[in-house]
Amino acid sequence: MNEDDLLKRSAEEREKIFKRYEQGRDGAQIDPWEDPGFEVYHATDRYGFIHDKRLPSKVDPQETKKVQIEIERQRKWLKMIKNWDSTNTKEKLASRVYKGIPNSLRSDVWCKLLQIEIIKKENKGKYAEMMKLARKYSTDARQIDSDVNRQFREHLHYRERYSIKQLSLFNVLTAYAMYNSEVGYCQGMSGLAGVLLMYMDEEDAFWAVHVLLTDPKYAMHGLYKEGFPKLTRFLAHHDRILMKLLPKVKKHFDRHGLDAILYSLKWFFVCFIERMERG
């Protein structure tokens, strides 16, 4: 097969994949096994994740306490959001973030923390432009398609193949791969964008991904680009800290050939997704 044929075939494949998402669930050919059969109303937790088993009918007293604390925190956060630029907010913000941003306010707070409004205003029309480019030239559509098909399928919004959320995730990732061509698309980014999309609309999530990758404060760009330079640095740093603070543990790990990458990759790479509760 020559170069032209290969290009033609990949263009056809891209066309097919994009069309399937645009069409959505109507008229799509979905194998019955592709859509999980969950009892939605009995088993969805408050974050939208669907569980195999029914949630316990009796409320766990600890859970009740947690919810109460969260309501209390919500009150404080609402006050803080109203006075976002005040010195009081600046003083308390960091410690309150560490205690956890209440679920109901994450949309607001994440957008504020990442300063989405500013960057969106400065780049009007950019997202739509990138989506158009992706539609024409994306070389990552196949990989993204196969990852969207596997990302958070136990979540209410991602559960159904070609659902609206799956379309959003596909759009954000293909558009971003065009916008940041050095990174393109790297497996793991679907988890990052997938979480953002649980709390934001498409365009906001697109810019949130961009801020997380390029703002010096987060700089995740180096984690995902070819060769993973920042991941390598983080792992080396982790090893040094472990050696300094827990030398016996480190030596034990070394003796058994337990490289840090085997257990810590997801901490750095996907911000603890699948390694910690979302609460």
Binding site: C186, E226, L265, F269
Partner: protein, 207 residues
Amino acid sequence: MASRKKTLLKVIILGDSSVGKTSLMNQYVNRKFTNQYKATIGADFLTKELTVDDRTVTMQIWDTAGQERFQSLGVAFYRGADCCVLVFDVTAPNTFKSLDSWRDEFLIQASPREPENFPFVLLGNKVDLEPRAISSKRAQQWCQSKNNIPYFETSAKEGLNVEQAFMAIAKNALAQQNSTVDLYNEFPDQIKLTNTQKPSGGSGCCQ
């Protein structure tokens, strides 16, 4: 073998994204198939105990990320492997084409003692799907060209041939481990690098 030590076999599964690496591992270890598998980031492993030629062995199966750029993280995962399983999707020609690159990259990064004799097993997965793009013959020809790699056609979804394939994988891994152990045994005495042994007059070459 005289050793009563528990035998651990380390097996690495490699191949392009979405060929069914995670599904094959889960079908073999847990005997189930769902559409709920997430894309594998880095690597994960499962273990299974089985009997090979009257010996109980524990197989540690490492499932890896399929996106090409993750190949550069291989070293940590490939170290100490006893067998490498290559997987492609019989309905996706590009996944067959990548096999050479997966094999070469594995040999470079794992750097086994005898690369030409290191055991690989090839699995052509998703035989339950149509249309088929890579024929059995073509896959077998590739295997012959690589020093006769065993080839199995599997369906992780239907559980077809999975048990047989992993039994062959275990046997090859075990044979590999035995051959490396024999290699060690060819040295009758350890060479001590401390100076507790006095040189026995005149026989040394450095004097």
